[in-house]
């Protein structure tokens, strides 16, 4: 096999012109054929010579002619092969054709060549001419063969054979047609190939351009972007990410998130990030803030899906929140300090006003009593606003603590009713309360905060109800949860506002802040307190009919470590 492929390799000609290469290869194939025929003829001649002890030849002259003819053919084949290999174009083909024509002319006795069995041999160079030289070369070869034939006939004293010439030219026409058709087909094929090549090149360039565009966008994005494959290994990372994680891209790619976080991220944050990356389908707004080395980073993730919906990985976007986190912390500290500083003089004012009210400095006139009464109410209001701010700051700073003790539901509700009764009566509202029979005698929790929560809801209910009743009740929700609810017959909460009334500084209508008072901090604090207690808030409301706020709390407290006062 190796020898065969060597030979086939030998047939190939180094040429850039595909037509030239094809023709010269064909010449080589023919030369190979000729060489084989020549060798076989030589072997046959030698065998016949020895077997017949020289009697096969009529004379020594004949014998010499045969040997010289065969040898000359083989040498010619060699020379033409060499020419064909190193000289491009028509020279080798022409020599081959001439050799073949000569071989045809001397292949047989002149009588046979001119009028008999030798005639057909001329067809070979004629047909070959069209494929190894040019399609029209078959006509030249036909002419050449006719001339050679005529010369032989005239040499014999015969009239040249016009039929032979006619046949030669007919063969030439057929060869010419066949070769022409083949060359055209090849040409078309080549044109097609060139076009195809061009198209492939264009597409490749477009793809490269779009890739480099995407890469340029990635590289110039300020957020850190990293893509993990389905095995959790980083496949792509942009320079911004390298900056945020303070390690070169080369040390990011091919590593998983655990490797990237080790040493620089605390154990708790590591778990948060790993969970975020693992459970991306569950979270609706999958984003967390973590301390990463010296920075605070927000991490958000999303699955990477192909058009076919196949998930090929996860993209995580890292944003530097260091400054924001620092500002947040400073803000919390500021609010905390400011609240404390505000409370000190307020406490003093309240003390003096109470002393006035209690008659410590002598009895007051009726009008003075009224004014002092308003002073007490307003100072208390101011204090509760400051306290709200302080609570808010504590919640944001994560320093709000719960004071857990046992208490009775009846006491809780009575305490609230006692505080709110007057406010309800002043607006002509009925304040009713109820404790379900199945509620346990004692409940566990931060009585103070629960009281604060209920007061907040009742206060709102009274504030936003013009006529009717406010009902406070404590019931069992299920075997594990109890619930306290405040129902009113007030203005209700519009559907679109239900999402944001628990945000700080939000009331349904900005004008409501002026009309109904309050800084809008209450509900957001209530929500966070309830969540700290492991519970949640439910809201049922119909605009114009009323609202019911329900706080559902677990019977068995499951408050995070550190959120309880010692």
């Amino acid at each position: 096999m190796a020898a065969l492929s060597k030979i086939i390799q030998l047939l190939d000609v180094p040429s850039l012109d595909p037509d030239d290469a094809r023709r010269r290869k064909l010449v080589n194939i023919l030369l190979l054929g000729l060489a084989i025929v020549g060798v076989l003829a030589l072997v046959a001649t030698v065998v016949a010579d020895i077997a017949s002890a020289g009697t096969v030849w009529e004379s020594n002259q004949d014998r010499l002619t045969a040997y010289i003819g065969i040898s000359a053919t083989l040498v010619g084949v060699g020379i033409i092969f060499a020419i064909n290999r190193y000289i491009a174009g028509w020279l080798a083909s022409t020599l081959l054709l001439l050799l073949l024509t000569a071989a045809a002319a001397f292949s047989d006795a002149p009588e046979e060549v001119a009028g008999g069995r030798g005639l057909l041999v001329f067809a070979i160079p004629i047909m070959m001419g069209s494929v190894v030289l040019r399609p029209y070369a078959s006509f030249i070869m036909a002419g050449l063969s006719s001339l050679a034939l005529s010369a032989i006939a005239l040499g014999l004293g015969w009239v040249p054979n016009p039929f032979a010439t006619l046949v030669f030219f007919m063969i030439a026409v057929v060869s010419w047609l066949a070769a022409q058709t083949m060359e055209r087909a090849l040409k078309d094929l080549r044109t097609l190939n060139v076009e195809l090549d061009q198209r492939v090149r264009d597409r490749t360039r477009e793809l490269a351009e779009s890739l480099s565009k995407t890469e340029a966008i990635l590289a110039s994005t300020a957020d850190g972007i990293i893509v993990f494959d389905t095995n959790g290994k980083a496949a792509v990372a942009n320079p911004a990410l390298a900056g945020l994680l303070a390690r070169p891209i080369g040390e990011i790619v091919d590593r998983d998130i655990e490797e990237l976080m080790s040493d620089t991220v605390g154990a708790e944050d590591r778990e948060v990030v790993a969970a975020l990356l693992a459970g991306i389908q569950e979270a609706r707004f999958p984003s967390v803030k973590v301390k990463w080395g010296k920075r605070t980073l927000s991490v958000s993730v999303a699955p990477v899906r192909l058009e076919s919906d196949e998930e090929i990985g996860t993209v995580a976007v890292f944003r530097d929140f260091t400054r924001e986190a620092e500002i947040d912390r400073m803000k919390s500290t500021f609010v905390s300090i400011a609240s404390h500083e505000l409370r000190t003089p307020l406490n003093a004012i309240l003390g003096y006003v109470e002393m006035l009210k209690e008659g410590v400095y002598g009895d007051l006139l009726e009008q003075q009593k009224g004014a002092v009464g308003r002073l007490v109410v307003n100072t208390n209001h101011m204090l509760s606003l400051v306290n709200n701010l302080l609570d808010r700051a504590r919640i944001e700073a994560g320093t709000l603590r719960l004071n857990i003790s046992s208490f009775s539901a009846a006491n809780l509700i009575d305490g609230v009713a006692g505080v709110m009764e007057v406010a309800a009566q002043n607006k002509g509202l009925e304040l009713t309360s109820y404790v379900g029979e199945d509620v346990p005698q004692t409940l566990e929790g931060d009585w103070q905060r629960l009281h604060q929560i209920l007061i907040n809801f009742v206060n709102n209910a009274v504030k936003f109800t013009e006529k009717g009743a406010v009902d406070v009740r404590i019931c069992m929700r299920d075997v594990d949860h109890w619930a306290m609810s405040v129902a009113d017959t007030g203005i209700g909460v519009p559907e679109d506002a239900r999402g944001y009334i628990f945000e700080p500084f939000r009331q349904v209508d900005e004008s409501a802040t002026r009309e109904y008072g309050g800084a809008g901090l209450g509900l957001s604090i209530v929500k966070q307190l309830v969540e700290l207690m492991g519970g949640w808030i439910e809201l049922e409301s119909e605009v114009g009919k009323g609202s019911t706020f329900t706080v559902v709390l677990p019977l068995e407290l499951n408050v995070p470590e550190g959120a309880i006062e010692d």
């Binding site: 406490n347 003093a348 003390g351 003096y352 209690e358 004071n403 103070q448």
Partner: protein, 136 residues
């Protein structure tokens, strides 16, 4: 019969005035001291019936004074009301204090509480040890 003696240890000027006034209204003779070290010096000579103690004091902190009083047999009959703005800190004082008030302290509330702690009252009517975390 002389009036019972009360000590107000409070570094905020106005609050100390208000506290002292509430105690006087409750029938005490009230002494105001505004720093921890002065309070200890005063206590070396006097034995008050009631102490209103702030926890956040200059030089010697409130818990130290509380400890000092509880560790001295001379003050066996002295009642202590801790008044502070920090519920967490106050909770740690629960076992040593007779009562805990979370600031802001209501004037009337302190006056009535002090009156009930007065040694002039029969023992049975005095309140036991408890806490009031009122933060309203």
């Amino acid at each position: 019969m002389s009036k019972p003696l009360a000590l107000v240890v409070e570094d905020e000027y106005d609050i100390s005035i208000i506290f002292a006034r509430a105690l006087r209204e409750a029938g005490y003779e009230a002494e105001i001291i505004r720093s921890g070290d002065t309070a200890l010096t005063w206590l070396a000579a006097e034995v008050p019936d009631l102490v209103i103690l702030d926890l956040n004091l200059p030089r010697v902190p409130g818990p130290k004074i509380l400890e000092h009083i509880r560790g001295d047999a001379r003050f066996e009959k002295t009642r202590i009301i801790v008044a502070t703005a920090y519920p967490r800190l106050a909770a740690q004082m629960r076992s040593q204090a007779d009562w805990i008030l979370i600031k802001p302290v209501n004037f009337g509330q302190l006056r009535d509480l002090a009156a009930r702690f007065s040694p002039d009252l029969p023992q049975g009517e005095q309140p036991g040890r408890s806490t009031d975390d009122s933060d309203e």
